[in-house]
């Protein structure tokens, strides 16, 4: 019996390929080929022995073809390979590093979220340096069907070990029901938000919600959900999906599958999806959550992306997915509030705070009454402006000068 996991080949970096062959006797034999052997050979052997010991394996032939994999990758690959030949409920967990213990607010800005394939460690390591509002470790479309299982271990370990530098820590699970199997690999490891692809009914959300609360019994912080609507039926049910759980922070649309579903071709202008996009924005607004747009798939066309973002913002979306780090800056900038928007939001917030101080229940600018949802929206605008450096933390002081 031989278990294997990982990737090999000339172009593979920061990954390894592991095979574990159980034996009856002769102890543990580790055969390591690594380009970093002189620097990390002992370390790789040590962690491997520790993992084998953890799973109580006494006799095995282990081969590791290493291309500079970090510990969290080696551990994921080895555990995954072991579990192909040994049945065990145990999990070999590296420490959840202190940088990875932060939580996120439900209404935090989600202008950009960067997709990282869930079985590509090389892309995970630096995912956090590109200033995306969120990093998505993807278990769904970017992982080949025969790699789904090993990707779960890798994503789990990445959540514990990789520093994403304050980006919201997101995972896209597989479509329900397959995605239900993903949850136990991510929920206990401080995932901030879970994306649910190809969502069509409120029942699916409830099912996921229940499973999460089962797994996360002890955890008192909220794990946000972002259903992705990718079908005609999903669009029809958008509002009931958006309101299916308190944990839903945003509603996203996935246009590749949606356009296929309605039998249309995805065009640059996107008129075929106007109804769906508008419906999503409307449903999200009605539910008091964020509306997030689909990715723009032409990575080299920055002008096209810029235009797409402008259209998207005009429709009422507040963010968009990124499939390449180069898209992040344009998307962030595009969804940032403009100067006029910021000024208006400042005026509203100041008027509101003034009213609060005076104990007045009514906020007004001049003769115009300001409703609470508008104040809330203004606060969100200022939050986004603050987090993108368009506004200083102490803006109130300069306002009063």
């Amino acid at each position: 019996m031989t278990g294997t996991a990982g990737n090999k080949g000339d172009y593979i970096r920061s990954d390894c390929y592991v095979s574990v062959e159980l034996a009856q006797e002769s102890g543990i034999e580790i055969n390591l080929r690594s380009k970093v052997a002189s620097l990390y050979g002992d370390s790789i052997r040590n962690i491997s022995l520790d993992i084998l010991n953890f799973f109580e394996i006494q006799h095995a032939k282990v081969t590791i073809e290493d291309k500079g994999a970090l510990d969290f990758v080696i551990a994921a690959r080895l555990e995954s390979a072991i579990k192909e030949v040994v049945s065990s409920e145990k999990e070999y967990l590296l420490p959840l590093t202190s940088e990875n213990t932060y939580h996120t607010d439900k209404d935090k800005p989600r202008r950009s979220r960067l997709y990282i394939p869930g079985n590509s460690p090389k892309l995970m390591i630096n995912a956090g340096i590109h200033s995306a509002d969120g990093v998505i470790l993807d278990l769904e479309d970017s992982v080949a069907p025969d790699k789904k299982n090993e990707a779960r271990y890798l994503v789990r370990n990445a959540l514990r070990s990789v520093n994403f530098y304050d980006a919201e820590r997101m995972v896209r699970i597989n479509q329900i029901p397959e995605g239900m199997n993903d949850l136990k690999y991510i929920v206990p490891h401080n995932v901030n938000l879970i994306l649910l692809p190809k969502c069509e009914t409120a029942a699916q959300i409830k099912q996921v919600d229940e499973e999460i609360s089962q797994i996360a019994k002890k955890s008192e912080h909220q794990i946000h959900l972002m259903p992705i609507i990718e079908s005609a039926l999903g669009v029809i049910n958008a509002y009931s999906i958006a309101t299916a759980s308190e944990n839903i922070a945003a509603l996203a649309i996935g246009l590749e599958d949606y356009t296929a579903d309605i039998g249309a071709k995805r065009s640059e202008g996107g008129k075929e999806s106007f109804y769906a996009r508008s419906t999503i924005v409307n449903a999200a607004s009605a539910a008091g959550i964020q509306a997030i747009d689909s990715v723009y798939s032409d990575v080299s066309n920055m002008d096209g992306l810029r235009e797409n973002v402008a259209n998207s913002k005009a429709l009422g979306f507040v963010g968009m997915g990124c499939i390449h780090p180069r898209q992040v800056r344009i998307i962030n900038t595009g969804f940032n509030p403009g100067q006029a928007e910021i000024e208006k939001a400042k005026a509203i917030v100041l008027a509101y705070e003034e009213a609060q101080r005076k104990g007045s229940g009514v906020t007004a600018i001049g003769s115009k009454m300001i409703d609470l949802p508008i104040v809330k929206r203004a606060l969100t605008t200022l939050n986004t402006a603050l987090s993108s450096g368009l506004l200083k933390e102490n803006w109130r002081e300069s306002e009063n000068e």
């Binding site: 970096r13 920061s14 380009k35 970093v36 052997a37 002189s38 620097l39 990390y40 050979g41 002992d42 370390s43 291309k67 500079g68 994999a69 970090l70 510990d71 390591i125 630096n126 340096i129 590109h130 520093n163 390449h324 780090p325 180069r326 450096g389």
Partner: protein, 507 residues
């Protein structure tokens, strides 16, 4: 640490930057007389073999070649094949740089034809040398150090073979036209001036005069016509590729931002960015900044390439001072544009001279395999202890006004910022800024820069913080293990030995 003698020659250990005082006079080539040369100026001989024999080839000679053709060089290996057939032993190869195409020399090092390499040992040659298989000790010099060594008589070249894209029968030569056009031939200047015998090899022979005569026929003994001296597509690339790696783009962007916000980019400034993928992107960021500010650079030191040529032609850069040419646009420009000038290691880099212009460049962007917490840099070995690269102009460029190294914090798990460099190639006092994807470290000696970036949103960290960060990500690496045997010596720009490389114990 540094032995008294290497390859039977006395050596002086590194004394500190600017501390070693040379004395005496420069080396002098023999006096020649026109009466020994054909009065019609025709120095053609029928083959390379003939030229070598007429040059008096014998055991133990120092033979020099140049890397103008980079990985497309067909001449160096050919010369040593001829020498092997002639039965000569223990030759010293003195190239200005070596490339993977020189791998066949390993066989000639094994069979005793070649005793050692004094130049650079890249890729397979580096491994061979690191494993202690070379008979002599390799000597690594910078481009400027190579000129200095020849000029000071430290290396007495017996036969220099200059591969020239265009030449006339008198020996005048340049690199501007012909199938092997490569731009400048500057690296061969010292050899032409000082070698005992000089052979020019060309595959594009033109009648006298070959103009401009970057290499002057008055120094040349023999001219040989060969069918093919280089592989054009490996000499210069048709198109220079910018990096597409998002991580490198990020580092490039951060570097440009640093230069801008610290006030290094101003009207009339000068820069050198090199031609690596990241460097190219940095120069395009410089271009954008110059356009936005409506300023221009007085000159750019190159490594010329398409992007730099565009900046020259747009008027953003007034002059290109070119050391080597990396793509076809660079070759075209140097041929056509008077403001795109050829330079040699003498004008740009030679430390034993009355100044050189490397020290006048405002912003110098360089690479490194490792940098340590004292800002010392390594460019010749990797962290695993193997020799892998030459010094190139790196040491010489360290004398620029602000030296910036954009580097990833680690490469395939191997930390780039370490406690102590495996091999010291450049003293930390000359390295000012390290830009990584996870933060920028400024040398504490550069109080002015530290002051300038105060209050900016640049991610300034200490070099120790960066080192801790990389060790947290990668784990603390073990050091490679070495035997006592010295396999190579690294020269500083003044001819002193700054460090030695010892034989690796393979893992």
């Amino acid at each position: 640490m540094i032995p008294d003698s290497i390859n039977g020659q006395n050596v002086i250990p590194f004394q500190g930057v600017g501390k070693f005082q040379p004395s005496g006079r420069k080396a002098m080539p023999r006096i020649s007389t026109c009466s020994d040369f054909p009065s019609d100026g025709n120095k053609l001989v029928k083959s390379l073999k003939d030229a070598l024999i007429k040059s008096g080839i014998k055991d133990g000679m120092i033979i020099s070649t140049h890397h103008h053709f980079r990985d497309g060089d067909l001449i160096a290996v050919k010369i040593f094949e001829i020498i092997r057939k002639l039965g000569c032993k223990d030759m010293v190869w003195f190239p200005s740089a070596s490339f993977p195409c020189h791998r066949p020399l390993i066989e000639l090092l094994k069979d005793g034809t070649v005793h050692r390499i004094e130049g650079s040992m890249n890729g397979p040659l580096g491994r061979f040398c690191s494993e202690g298989k070379m008979k002599g000790v390799g000597i690594l010099r910078s481009h400027g150090g190579r000129y200095q060594a020849v000029q000071d008589g430290e290396v007495e070249i017996d036969i220099a073979v200059i591969a020239a894209p265009t030449a006339d029968p008198f020996g005048n030569a340049n690199g501007l036209t012909g199938a092997s056009a490569c731009g400048s031939l500057g690296f061969a200047l010292a050899d032409s001036q000082f070698a005992d015998k000089v052979i020019v090899v060309t595959d594009n022979l033109v009648p006298f005069p070959c103009l401009p005569w970057e290499i002057q026929g008055n120094y040349v003994d023999f001219v040989v016509e060969e069918e093919k001296i280089g592989i054009p597509e490996k000499i210069v690339s048709g198109t220079t590729q910018m990096t597409k790696s998002p991580d490198r783009l990020h580092i490039a962007e951060l570097t440009a931002k640093f230069c801008d916000e610290s006030g290094l980019i101003g009207d009339g400034f000068s820069f050198q960015t090199g031609a690596g993928g990241t460097s190219l992107v940095i120069s395009t960021f410089f271009r954008d900044i110059m356009r936005k500010k409506g300023i221009k650079a007085r000159f750019a030191r190159a490594g010329s390439n398409k992007y730099l040529v565009e900046m020259l032609e747009e008027g953003l850069v007034e002059y290109i001072l070119d050391g080597q040419t990396f793509d076809l646009e660079g070759v075209r420009s140097i041929r056509e544009n008077l403001n795109h000038a050829n330079t040699s290691p003498f004008t740009s880099y030679n430390y034993h001279s009355k100044g050189n212009f490397a020290g006048m460049v405002d912003i110098v962007i360089l690479g490194a395999t490792e940098v340590d917490v004292n800002f010392n840099g390594n460019v010749v070995t990797h962290s695993d202890g193997y020799l892998l690269h030459g010094i190139g102009g790196w040491q010489n460029c360290l004398f620029g006004k602000t030296v910036i190294l954009p580097l990833p914090l680690f490469r395939d798990r191997i930390p780039v910022i370490v406690d102590e460099v495996t091999t010291l190639c450049g003293p930390g006092e000359l390295i000012d800024v390290i830009v990584t994807e996870r933060g920028i470290a400024i040398n504490p000696l550069r109080k002015d820069l530290l002051e300038k970036v105060k209050g900016s949103d640049l991610p300034i960290k200490s070099i120790h913080e960066l080192k801790d960060e990389v060790e947290k990500i990668c784990g603390k690496p073990k050091k490679p293990e070495f035997k006592d045997k010295i396999v190579a010596a690294v020269k500083w720009v003044d001819g002193t030995v700054i460090d030695v490389v010892r034989q690796i114990i393979p893992k």
